[in-house]
Each structure stands twice: as structure tokens, then as C-alpha cells.
């Protein structure tokens, strides 16, 4: 909503410029002159303003956005320093499991920019929620159109996934965000992340699918196969704060790279063993908990300069 308000103001400024040009153009033709005090001059002016405003099209949001300095977040995806290659069984976890990544989709939300003095700006573009599909380049760039105070910023913060306030069932009715929905009976809202994999260990002949899906967890009084025994839900989203080094200045668009090291979800002190979760982890809170612990350190800042 803030974006729309901002654009409207910019358009109005441009429309005012155009209206001035229309009047100047008419004056310069010589045969129509609006004399001050003429009974129709005020009405005519109003008419021309309405005419110019209502018929005008093709505003350029890029120009108006650049006037105030903007920032773009580029989401990058790697495996231990190398660019993520989909559908290729070339990765190995610290536990020795081979794996390939087939799909990687996730939400980030609650983005904020922080300065060393303690001031910070909360981003409200698109309700502060961004969907990333690592296979779709356009989704890997989040152009923030909200105005940011110029200056140096030394960290950014965001939520991986969606918090209780944002994770409302039915808020996304259109794809691709819609297809992230998380069953209501399992807690509702949306998947924080869908990472679809295939993996194998030395004992396996073939790769097997694994759905590394994160969202709201459940507490069961009985078996996890019985959603009727759910007695409570657990929020598995987590905050991420990244040190960055970026300067936002007027009439300049800065770019911040946020890189996800996919291997980080499986390695480290909470090494993830696919074989422990043959039924996936959507209904296995201990699996999601372990994954979420790892997730807190998968992101890093990468400086990006477009030439």
C-alpha cells in the first residue's frame, strides 16, 4: 500500500508538469490566450487540467523511484560456495548422503534495514513479504520501492518464513504463492519453504525423493499419522540478521545480495539425516526443528555491483 501511495504522488507531480506544458503549449500558439479575469478562463483551466489528468497514460515508475534512492535484494543460491545446479546428483552432506535439488521455493518477510546508530527502517512493500522460487530469476530479485533514508546501513533483518501475523490462510489466492499453502489441519498458513530433493546413501541403489518442507509444526498426543491427535502447534519461522555494508543514496539504486548456502540446511552441528525421516518432516516437528536450527546460519551477505 505504501508503494501505491508513493507512486500516486509521483504521478501527480508528473501530471502537474504535463498540465503546465499543455497550458504553455496552448499559449504559444497565439490564437488562444487565457486572459486573467476572463469569465471562462478559470473554468477552462479546470477543464484542461481534468482533460490532461484523465487522459494521461504511460507513467514511468522507474524514474520516480530512482529520484529517492532504492534498494534491491538479490537472492542467490549456492552449495558450499558454488552456484546451485538443479537436478544434478553432485552434492554430498556431511553424513555422506548424496543429494540433488529439484525445487527450492520459500518466503522471507519482515525485512528491515539497520544503521549503526540504532535507527532502522521496516519495509512494507508487498506487506513486507517476498516469495522466492530459485528456478525463476525474476522472483530472486526483490526491488524495494519504499523510500529509505540515505546513509550507511550495516545490517538487515528478516524472518525466514512467515510469522503468526503474516501466516494467515487464504491471504494468497493466486499462484505461485498460493501453491505454498500449508494444510489447515496441520497448522494452516503457508509453507515457509519447499525444497524438493532426491537423495541416496551407499546402501541405496537409486535416488529417493525427499520433501524438505518447513512450516508450522504440530504436537501430537498420539501418532503423527493421526492429525486428530494434534494438541498444539509450533511456530518454526526464525529471524535472520545479516551484517551488510551498503550505502543508500538519493537517485541511486543499491543492490544487496542475500545468499543461501543450501548445504547449510543439512550440515553443521545439526547434521540432517534423510534416512531418519522416511515420511518427510511436515508432520515431524523434531525434523523441522533440526532443519530450522540449521537454517539460522544458511544466509550470508554478498556485495553485488551491477555495471
Amino acid at each position: 500500500m505504501h508503494f501505491q501511495d508513493f507512486t500516486t504522488k509521483a504521478q501527480r507531480r508528473k501530471d502537474q508538469d504535463n498540465n503546465t506544458n499543455v497550458l504553455a503549449s496552448l499559449r504559444c500558439r497565439g490564437n488562444i490566450i487565457l486572459r486573467p479575469g476572463h469569465p471562462f478562463s478559470f473554468l477552462s483551466l479546470i477543464f484542461l487540467l481534468i482533460l490532461s489528468y484523465s487522459c494521461h497514460k504511460d507513467h514511468s515508475p522507474e524514474i520516480s523511484a530512482l529520484k529517492n534512492g532504492t534498494v534491491q535484494i538479490d537472492f542467490l543460491h549456492s552449495v558450499n560456495g558454488n552456484v546451485l545446479v538443479f537436478d544434478s546428483l553432485e552434492y554430498v552432506t556431511s553424513l555422506g548422503n548424496q543429494y540433488m535439488v529439484n525445487d527450492l521455493q520459500y518466503f522471507v518477510s519482515g525485512l528491515s534495514f539497520h544503521q549503526s546508530g540504532g535507527t532502522w527502517v521496516y519495509i512494507r512493500d508487498s506487506s513486507g513479504i517476498h516469495y522466492v522460487d530459485a528456478r525463476i530469476a525474476s522472483s530472486c530479485q526483490w526491488q524495494i520501492t519504499q523510500q529509505l533514508p540515505t546513509g550507511n546501513y550495516d545490517s538487515i533483518g528478516f524472518i525466514f518464513g512467515l510469522d503468526e501475523a503474516d501466516n494467515r490462510s487464504g491471504r494468497f489466492v493466486n499462484p505461485p504463492e498460493r501453491d505454498m499453502f500449508w494444510p489447515e489441519m496441520l497448522g494452516g498458513g503457508y509453507h515457509y519453504m519447499k525444497m524438493n530433493l532426491k537423495w541416496k546413501n551407499q546402501a541405496m541403489q537409486e535416488t529417493m525423493p525427499f520433501m524438505f518442507h518447513l512450516g508450522i509444526g504440530q504436537m501430537y498426543s498420539g501418532t503423527t499419522a493421526d492429525p486428530d491427535s494434534i494438541i498444539g502447534f509450533i511456530q518454526n519461522y526464525f529471524p535472520v540478521k545479516l551484517p551488510v555494508s551498503t550505502t543508500i543514496s538519493a537517485n541511486h539504486s543499491s543492490v544487496i545480495g542475500v545468499e543461501m548456502n543450501v548445504a547449510g540446511w543439512f550440515d553443521g552441528q545439526n547434521a540432517f539425516d534423510f534416512s531418519l525421516y522416511p515420511m518427510g518432516i511436515m508432520q515431524n516437528q523434531s525434523g523441522m526443528y533440526r532443519a530450522a536450527l540449521n537454517g539460522r546460519s544458511v544466509f550470508s551477505f554478498q556485495p553485488i555491483v551491477y555495471k
Binding site: D87, P209, M211, G280
Partner: protein, 381 residues
Amino acid sequence: MKNSAFFFFILFMASLISCKKSADTPASFLTTPYQITIPSHFPSKLNIPSDNPMTVEGVTLGRFLFYDGRLSGRTDPDSMMSCANCHIQANSFVCGINNPKYTNGHPFGITGILTPHYMLPMINLVWADHGYLWNGAVSETNPAPQSRNLEDIVWMAILAPHEIHGDTNRTKALIQSIKGYPDLYKKAFGSETVTIKNTGKAIAQFVRTLISANSKFDRFLNGAEQLTISERNGFVLFMTEQGGDCFHCHGGDGNPLFTTNLFYNNGKDTVFDDIRDRYHVTLDPSDIGAYKAPTLRNLAFTAPYMHDGRFKTLDEVIDFYSSGVVWSPSISPLMHHVATHGVQLLPQQKADLKAFLLTLTDSSFVTNPDYSRPPKMPDEK
């Protein structure tokens, strides 16, 4: 006052010029927008091309053409063929497994050539994305600009040997000669001249009106009706990863279309020889043996199932997903139960899942008079 009158005349003329939309729009060409009411929980984005907005006049013409066998360009009763020959409303616009003409629900063209695939239902296509047909070949990414949208499927059907096997010039000439049609084309598109492009546009407009949103499950979602215990248990199975795990591909309470419109190799085969699978569109090896997930709405009417119609009943489909899934290198990563050849449902669970699936039956869709054959064709009194 004379100067003032002249000035206002200039202003009036300027307003006409500056606000004019298109120089070639006929002055007498006025259409009535066709308003699609978006049902509760349904997507707000409609797949309507900017060059073919929905109009009452276009839908009216499209409905006539959809049901008129003279679309084939032929008048002999034995060789006439329209969309409705195979797309039968009573079966959610598939030919149906009990069709007396098309054995086992496998349609064939006017010369008897079987279609390469069985039929997909025509339900809620105004929300279709990622292309049309089982492999999504007709999509915005198709290199051929004339094969990118629902509109384009009409000329394809007219020409296809396994469908109408006609000639577009003959179709145009015949439709042009039929009393009433030129006027309908003029009302819909501003010209009495029959073109294949406008024919495709009109039929596509009609097809986009075919909306199903009044099943028992819809009423359940809207709080107007309760599910039975068995239906409710089936719903839980449908929606849970440790149950049937159907929702990842087929939607559910968060996606009432009951399809993602995406493509999956769902583990039916280990050998693949269909040149019309998703792989032959994308050339991505991970798409070998993949097909569009069809909507599950009105499953009761749309047997047989799968692109090759291999399952004649819903029970066979459930049995397959329970214990018949086979591994291949390109199996979808969402088929995570393949290690056990399926989700291993117990008999009662199968019955519950089937009971839930049947709550997606929308009888009002298959009887909606607005979707039926018009009482009279344009040249009938």
C-alpha cells in the same frame, strides 16, 4: 461570446482527439462486458488474453460454434463435427467412459484416428496457467505465436486428423454462408467477416465461462454444509503428507481448483515412449513421463483417468497411488512414497479417500443451461 463559443468548440474537439482509443474501432461496434464472478477462495487473477476480453456477444457466438457441427466445414450429418461431439457437458466436457461411440472413453477424429491422449475436463480453464493440454504445449512459451493460448486450440482441432480433420477455409466459407452467423460475428467482433481467429476467440470465451464452484466441498469450505465422518477422514488423508499426500499436486483447502496446473511424473511407468509428454515440450530430462495434474473436480464424470486412460475407475486410481507407484529417474520428487510403492492405504482409508473425492462432484456444472447446447442454432427459427 462568439470567441467563447469558438474556444469551447476547440476544447471539445481536443478532448475527442486526446481521449480516442483506437482509430480503427468502428463507431457502431459496442459490446457488453461479460462479468465473471469469482467464487470464494478462487484465484483473483483470470487468464484472459488482453486481445480477447470476455463479452456477452463473444460468449454467445462461442457457445453456438462450440455446439455447431458445421464448424467442421461440412454439412453431411455423418461428417459434421463440433467441439461438443467429444466435449460433453454431462461428463464435465470429456466424452465419458460409457460413451456409446467412443469405446472406453477414448475419442477419435472424423476419420477414426484415435486422439494421442485421453481427454482433460474443461473445468475452470479461466484460471488455467502453465499451458493447455496434458503436456502444456500450447502456452505462452511456445515458439510458434499461433500456438500459445486457448484460442489457438480451435484451429488446431479443425485441422487435426485425429479431430475434425477439416480445412479452415472451408469452415470459414460455410459459417459465413449460414444465416445469422455474420450478424453474430459483427456483434462480437465488429465485422461480419468470419475469420478463424475470431472463431477461436469466441469459442475460447465460451469455454472460459465453464466454472465449477458448487460442489459439496465448496459448500463445506463456505460453512454451508458438513462433511460426513468418512468424507472428513478422506479429506484428512488427502491433505496430509503421512496420509495420501494428494494436496501437493492437486490443491485442497488452499487451492480450490484442485490442481496446481503443473506437470509431474507420478510414477506410473519405468519406460517412456510418448512423444507428447512434458519432456518433448521442455527437453528437460526431469520432465520425462510428466503430465499436467488434472483438476480432481467432477472426477465422478471424467473417467477414464490419466493421460492414457489406463484406469477405468476411481478405485483403480486409489489402488495405484496406494501400492502401484514405480520408480524412474524422472519421478517427481513429490512422489516420496515410491520407496513403498505408494502411500499404503488400508481398505477403510481407501473408502474414506474416495468418499472425499466424490465431494468434489458439482452436479450443477453438468446441468447448467448456460453451458448447454443452445435451443436453436443461429439459422433456426
